[in-house]
Subunit: 189 residues, 2 copies
Amino acid sequence: MFQEYDLTTFYRLLHPRPVAVITSTCGEGKVNAMACSWFTPVSEEPPTIAVVVDESSYTAECIELMGEFALNILPSELLNKIWVAGSRSGRNVDKIRAMDVNLIKCSKINSYAISESIAYIEVSKVVSYGIGGSKVFFGEVVAAYVKDDVAGNYGWKLDKVSIPLHDWGRKFYVLDKNAKYTYIRDVRS
Amino acid sequence: MFQEYDLTTFYRLLHPRPVAVITSTCGEGKVNAMACSWFTPVSEEPPTIAVVVDESSYTAECIELMGEFALNILPSELLNKIWVAGSRSGRNVDKIRAMDVNLIKCSKINSYAISESIAYIEVSKVVSYGIGGSKVFFGEVVAAYVKDDVAGNYGWKLDKVSIPLHDWGRKFYVLDKNAKYTYIRDVRS
């Protein structure tokens, strides 16, 4: 039978979910990075995404100021770097240096992506929406890049790359070539 | 090196991701269901979620009218039912009957959840935001339930239940007791 679940942790029922690193540029040109798994595609046309960040974060301040950001997908092998991006504040630390990653100039926005990513998207024309202690940033996806041949039209090629999913705290699931999958068949639709 | 990725399918880089079934009630009391993987937690306090649905869908019409809905997590074994919920329109079909599931009355909203779920949350005080052909519904999580002992404070117990993740089309990944996971260790944070 059903039991009540603590409302303050309801979101754990919506994990594991993809995790990405948001890169943004602040007024003085400093590039900041932050881990994020609270995001969702919003629209195919125009291609739109929403990301949720803490309203008090340096990333929120940077995106609010510049109106654009990049969303980087890093492979499972770089989970330690994702963790660094998610566990310090860019107000106090140069997170690009702390993560020990390199930057690549974006093509359509005035910011940078992470060279070690397996894919990144560039997001522009951002509008924000405040709820509780969070800022939801909606933005148009103006460019998308994937490394080498790690994703086709239908998504990731898990024989070539492995994808991290955030569960909670320090726990992550890893989708790789051994991940279990299934196809829906024999159902009229 | 990086290659451009088709903007019209950018969202496939943000999958696989959790999939749920939204249940909503329409004016005449009819209960409708729809599969959805474009959702995200938004805030811990107040507990808030955002779900994205096609603006022309029957579900969008129902949520707009009633201002509330339930979000049901079904186990991997019921993927065929999730598929039915995602591949027909409630305008033409009684999807609860087509899915062959039972309903349970919600406690805090005037709607129903799916008895075969492993967890469901009740969402109220919904506000909508239109982008492209999509409607984003923000709502407060007013109740959450899990079945038996399938989730603890830290999320799913994969020794007791298996979770589906939607990749694309008919392809789903399945997280079960054999899923690969890792803990971040030895990183200063």
